[in-house]
């Protein structure tokens, strides 16, 4: 049961955004620029960072929904997403992404736990200032999203078969207001 009176037909953060559209607007704008920008990190890499941090924060709704979005970007490669969640160090991903996931994992605990050695390691594997900035901000932003979703006990659908359709909506239409509007389950295509 959510802690506040939200629309119970909407899952997770969508119900909270519908409850408070004033704050939903900058939150969805932040998600859009952070997770769908194609400069530097790819959208798939960005979603993998978000999934990993949400998994560390044990946020069921966020790690499953962003995991499914990553699966979409990775042409259905669910095994890769699972590997990143559980043990990214052994996952078939670039050394650069591994070094960034290490930084993201530090940020999940505390900003202060990121060391100059973590940054140097990422640089040695080809990470730019922009990559490092975006990784830290994505990890920090999921520390917000996860706490928002769980702190208000919003509904996390337990049936995992409901996640892929919402993931496709995001991949096709982004993080706009359609995700928390009444038509959220059947968005109109972009004009």
């Amino acid at each position: 049961m959510p802690h506040i009176d939200v629309d119970k037909t909407l899952p997770g953060i969508r119900s909270l955004m519908a409850f408070r559209p004033e704050t939903a607007k900058p939150l969805s704008a932040l998600a859009e620029i952070l997770l769908r920008d194609t400069e530097g990190l790819s959208p798939a890499e960005r979603e993998l960072i978000g999934t990993y941090v949400s998994y560390l924060n044990d946020c069921f709704y966020c790690h499953h929904s962003h995991g499914e979005i990553a699966v979409c970007y990775l042409d259905g490669d669910r095994d890769l997403v699972e590997a990143v969640r559980h043990n990214y160090k052994e996952a078939p991903i670039s050394e650069k992404l591994k070094s960034l996931l290490q930084i993201a994992g530090k940020v999940q605990k505390s900003g202060k736990s990121v060391t100059p050695e973590d940054i140097e390691n990422a640089r040695q594997h080809g990470a730019t200032d922009r990559d490092i900035h975006d990784t830290v901000l994505i990890a920090a932003a999921f520390c917000l999203f996860n706490r928002y979703v769980d702190g208000l006990a919003s509904i996390a659908p337990q049936d995992l078969s409901t996640y892929p359709e919402r993931a496709r909506q995001i991949v096709e239409h982004g993080y706009g207001s359609h995700i928390y509007s009444k038509q959220a389950e059947s968005p109109k295509p972009k004009a």
Binding site: M1, H3, I4, D5, L16, F19, R20, E22, T23, K25, P26, L27, A29, L30, I33, L34, D37, N57, D58, C59, I103, K106, V107, S110, G111, K112, V114, P116, I119, D129, R130, I132, H133, V136, L137, A139, A140, A141, C143, L144, F145, N146, R147, Y148, V149, D150, G151, L152, A153
Partner: protein, 177 residues
């Protein structure tokens, strides 16, 4: 020295906004609506929640700047800020604010640790759904801002006095870039 190449001498999150204005825009919009927009909580109360969470996250830049903004906005009642942050006492605050700060503290450690009893307790002291929503989202947002500022090791002025002007500006002008 910050971990990435930002402009020297600009403190904390402002140097990061300058490095990345694309993300700076929604972050400032979020701070503005969350701390200054319409809410049953006053701006001073919301700044106090922000400073309280930043203090628990040991983020000195956010704690000092939002404490300064809270002191400016509380004006003659500014002692409540130092009572809470330095003397660890909430005795001068309303029972409702105490109950909301309790929830904010839970959110700072982990969203899941907020219990139905915490919510019930806040409701008994007069908090409504929007008070609770805004408290949780402020605490969650500062769990982001604090990590952003410290995760990139951005420049943090050392003394409380260095934040006086900043707090006044935040109090008067808010968070528009």
């Amino acid at each position: 020295m910050a971990y990435i190449k930002v402009e020297e001498g600009i403190p904390g999150i402002r140097s990061l906004f300058k490095f990345s204005p694309e993300t700076g825009k929604p972050l400032c919009d979020l701070a503005e609506v969350l701390l200054r927009g319409p809410s049953p909580l006053s701006s001073s109360e919301r700044e106090l929640i922000a400073a309280f969470v930043s203090n628990r996250n040991n983020c000195m830049f956010c704690m000092n700047s939002h404490a300064a903004a809270a002191r400016f906005l509380f004006d003659e009642d500014k002692q409540v800020v130092d009572d809470l942050l330095k003397n660890q006492t909430a005795d001068s605050l309303s029972p409702k604010m105490k109950a909301l700060l309790w929830i904010a503290g839970k959110v700072q450690s982990n969203g899941k640790s907020v219990t139905p009893e915490d919510i019930e307790n806040a409701r008994k002291e007069g908090a409504n759904d929007t008070d609770i929503h805004d408290t949780v989202l402020i605490a969650a947002s500062f769990s982001m801002f604090n990590r952003y500022v410290d995760g990139l090791d951005s420049y943090t002025p050392a003394n409380e006095e260095d934040y006086l002007e900043m707090g006044k500006r935040m109090g008067q002008k808010g968070y528009h870039i």
